[in-house]
């Protein structure tokens, strides 16, 4: 899961610390633009062999590192149960 943090820090040139906690809303802070969000979704799907539903992409589940981690972890855990 540190891969996600590393991707975000590298892709968006931010560093998570006390002043920029992992729960920060990446949209509201101007970190994630349309290009970055598309890159992030592509990265997560490829790296963890998962696919996001439209509801997941349009909901508030991918707005912070904390939420992204939780969502990806749940999807990875459910991966074997989902139809290919």
């Amino acid at each position: 899961m540190d891969k996600i943090r590393a991707f975000i820090e590298d892709q968006f040139l931010v560093e998570f610390d006390e002043s920029f906690p992992e729960g920060t809303n990446l949209f509201k802070e101007g970190v994630m633009d349309s290009f970055g969000y598309v890159q992030l979704c592509r990265f997560l799907e490829k790296e963890f062999a998962i696919a996001f539903t439209e509801a997941e992409m349009t909901g508030n589940v991918l707005v912070s590192l904390t939420q992204i981690r939780e969502t990806v972890a749940q999807k990875v855990a459910r991966r074997g149960e989902e139809p290919a």
Partner: protein, 656 residues
């Protein structure tokens, strides 16, 4: 077209004033290569570098009234000067010249500041009343012509370009981190911002007076979108568009020198060229930029328009190396940080136009603001109706936005929907339309360390204009474009500054007040707002090639900064080396280095638009620091200077 400069209440000895004003004019002589003129008093001086366009012989400046009380230095053109002259003659004014400069002087003497709303043109002027010791500065309603001012001790300085202040003894430039953060946040200076501490721009539609009582600023033209009477139908609307644009182009063809046209390959400049040919009685000379990169190049469309109209067409092909070589000069002329490189080819095009012997050009600038040509307006409309439309319609419209951006399209529509979902509500009061864009600007503003809120200035600007409250979301978007990007970048960095760097006067028929007012009465009245400029296109269908009429908006762009900067180790040194970054202590050096490393090391497809833009901001801030704060611009300017002849000198020192 001209450049003006001056200083009053200066402590400089009066014997130093002629040299000082000549030095100031010398720094902006590119704006007026046909002759310098100045007037000097005991503790004031003002002058003009003139580009002779109307009344070539007797239009020298500064122009005084017969009694010698008022002295005018004037930059620009009042296109309706003949009508105003007739009005003034009817009131008994006797004219000595045929120049519009004298009309401006007489209009002020007759009507005072009430003359300003009557002026249809692009202008900035300084008028000194010797009797009252009062200086007036004024600027046109859309901000086509620049005018900057500053205090220097007790002295008051003004000039068409800030670089004129480099010639004032003791005046020091200092970059202002808070202003820079704002400029980076909005991707453009706001109306009175310059990026330098203690220097202000006079905003569009304003005038100021400076006298012993101090400085007062006044607004004479507010931006509104009047709801005029609705035309009976589309045919009448199209006829009105044609009639208004014909009148506008006819006014802007008034010139005693040949008028050319810049062709972009799009519908707007094609309409201007068509009307210039029909009204002017012969095909105009046309000029275009072409790129090797097919994704940016519109030369095929330019050729189609030129061939259709039979113009004498000249194409300037611009390479990455050309852009790299011209970058410092173009930034020096722009004077403010730039977020796009597109102004550099325009800088080169004006040089080419000058070499071809043309002094005045028309362009299609302003059409996208007036007739809703930008995707931003469609995005605003879509977001404002986000919750009221079905998913399919939303997805279809989203996929049609920003066709030049590779990640906008059906394959990524779910992710884009997620992003827009985050911004479907207004969070910043009054800034709904530009919220997503400004959020992207937060990234650029991270270049500046501890500069505070980069949106404080834009919030204050919006809060100061209560008329926005009554506007629709799309009109608010228009208002912001008119107030920010249009004067702050398109008409200045990419317009006036790029053109006047080589003595080219640019005129914009779509920015005639009557055309703008007409467009505002038609917008969204016959359209759903998702087919840009449909009425405008249809108004000229049949008179221009179908491929041009039906072509989708193709934003004028130039190569990303990294594409040309990587060929210049000296530029990269500016934004990477510890010693150079140490000269810019207000920059976040760590962020600057990380950004530069990323932009230069990754394939272009992996770099986002905002990263490219921020990199150019960084490079231009460093270049401006070297040129203005470090004063390298003085040396460069003097090395290449060819002084225009001194054609007028009025010495009022010791005079009552």
């Amino acid at each position: 077209m001209c450049g003006i400069a001056g200083l009053i209440d200066t402590a400089l000895p009066s014997e130093a004033l002629p040299d000082t004003i000549l030095e100031m004019l010398g720094t902006i002589a590119h704006r007026g290569p046909d002759g310098l003129g100045y007037a000097v008093g005991d503790d004031w001086a003002m002058g003009t570098a003139r580009l002779a366009v109307i009344d070539l012989e007797s239009g020298t400046q500064p122009l005084g009234d017969p009694g010698g009380r008022f002295w005018l230095c004037y930059n620009g053109e009042i296109y309706n000067y003949r009508e105003l002259r007739a009005d003034l003659e009817a009131q008994g004014v006797v004219f000595r010249t045929h120049c519009d400069t004298e009309v401006v002087l007489a209009a002020w003497m007759t009507w005072g500041e009430q003359c300003l709303p009557r002026f249809n043109g692009g202008f900035a002027f300084a008028l000194f009343d010797r009797r009252e010791r009062r200086l007036v500065l004024a600027r046109d309603r859309f901000g086509k012509r620049p005018l900057f001012y500053a205090r220097h001790g007790n002295a008051f300085l003004f000039a068409s370009e800030m670089k004129a202040f480099l010639a004032v003894p003791g005046f020091a430039f200092e970059q202002d981190p808070a202003q820079l953060a704002s400029i980076l946040g909005q991707w453009t200076p706001l109306p009175d911002q310059t990026g330098f501490r203690a220097i202000q721009a006079l905003p569009m539609g304003e005038w100021l007076s400076f006298d012993r009582g101090g400085l007062e600023r006044h607004t004479y033209a507010r931006l509104a979108f009047p709801e005029g009477p609705a035309p009976a139908g589309e045919d009448e609307a199209k006829a009105l568009i044609r009639r208004h644009l014909e009148a506008s182009v006819a006014l802007r063809l008034r010139s005693d020198v040949e008028v050319g046209v810049y062709l972009s390959g799009g519908i707007d400049s094609a309409i201007v060229a068509l009307l210039a040919r029909d009204i002017g009685g012969r095909p105009p000379a046309t000029f275009s930029v072409a790129f090797d990169d097919a994704a940016l190049d519109e030369s095929a469309e330019q050729q189609v328009v030129a061939a259709h109209l039979g113009t004498r067409h000249d194409t300037l092909r611009v390479s990455h190396e050309d852009i790299a070589a011209a970058c410092p000069d173009a930034v020096y002329h722009a004077e403010v940080p730039a977020f796009r490189s597109a102004f550099i080819p325009m800088f080169l095009l004006s040089r080419r136009t000058q070499e071809c012997g043309i002094k005045v050009i028309l362009s299609g600038e302003g059409a996208d603001e007036a007739f809703l040509g930008y995707d931003l307006f469609k995005e605003t409309l879509l977001r404002s109706r986000w919750d009221d439309i079905d998913d399919d319609t939303r997805s279809r419209r989203l996929a049609r936005l920003y066709p030049h951006l590779g990640h906008y399209g059906p394959q990524d529509i779910a992710a884009l929907t997620g992003l827009y979902q985050q911004f479907s509500q207004e969070r910043m009061p009054g800034l709904f339309s530009h919220e997503l864009k400004f959020q992207n600007g937060r990234f650029s503003a991270r270049l500046i360390k501890g500069a505070g809120d980069p949106f404080a200035a834009i919030s204050a600007l919006v809060a100061g204009h209560g008329e926005m409250a009554a506007m629709s979301p799309v009109q608010r978007a228009q208002w912001l474009e008119y107030k920010t990007l249009l004067p702050g970048y398109l008409l200045s960095t990419q317009g006036d500054r790029a053109a006047l760097a080589h003595g080219i006067e640019n005129r914009c028929p779509f920015l005639d007040p009557a055309v703008v007012d007409l467009a505002s009465t038609l917008n969204l009245r016959f359209d759903d707002g998702f087919e840009e400029k449909r009425l405008l296109r249809q108004a000229f269908a049949g008179r221009l090639p179908e491929s041009i009429v039906n072509k989708r908006k193709f934003p004028y762009r130039a190569p990303d900064a990294a594409a040309f900067a990587e060929t210049r180790p000296d530029y990269l040194e500016l934004v990477q080396s510890e010693s150079e970054l140490a000269k810019l202590p207000f920059l976040d050096a760590n962020f600057a280095r990380r950004l530069t490393a990323k932009v230069l090391s990754r394939p272009a497809a992996e770099i986002s638009t905002k990263e490219n833009q921020t990199f150019l901001f960084l490079l231009s801030i460093a270049l401006l620091h070297r040129q203005f704060v470090g004063r390298d611009g003085v040396a460069g300017h003097k090395a290449g200077r060819v002084h225009p002849p001194l054609v007028r000198m009025v010495d009022l020192r010791g005079a009552a």
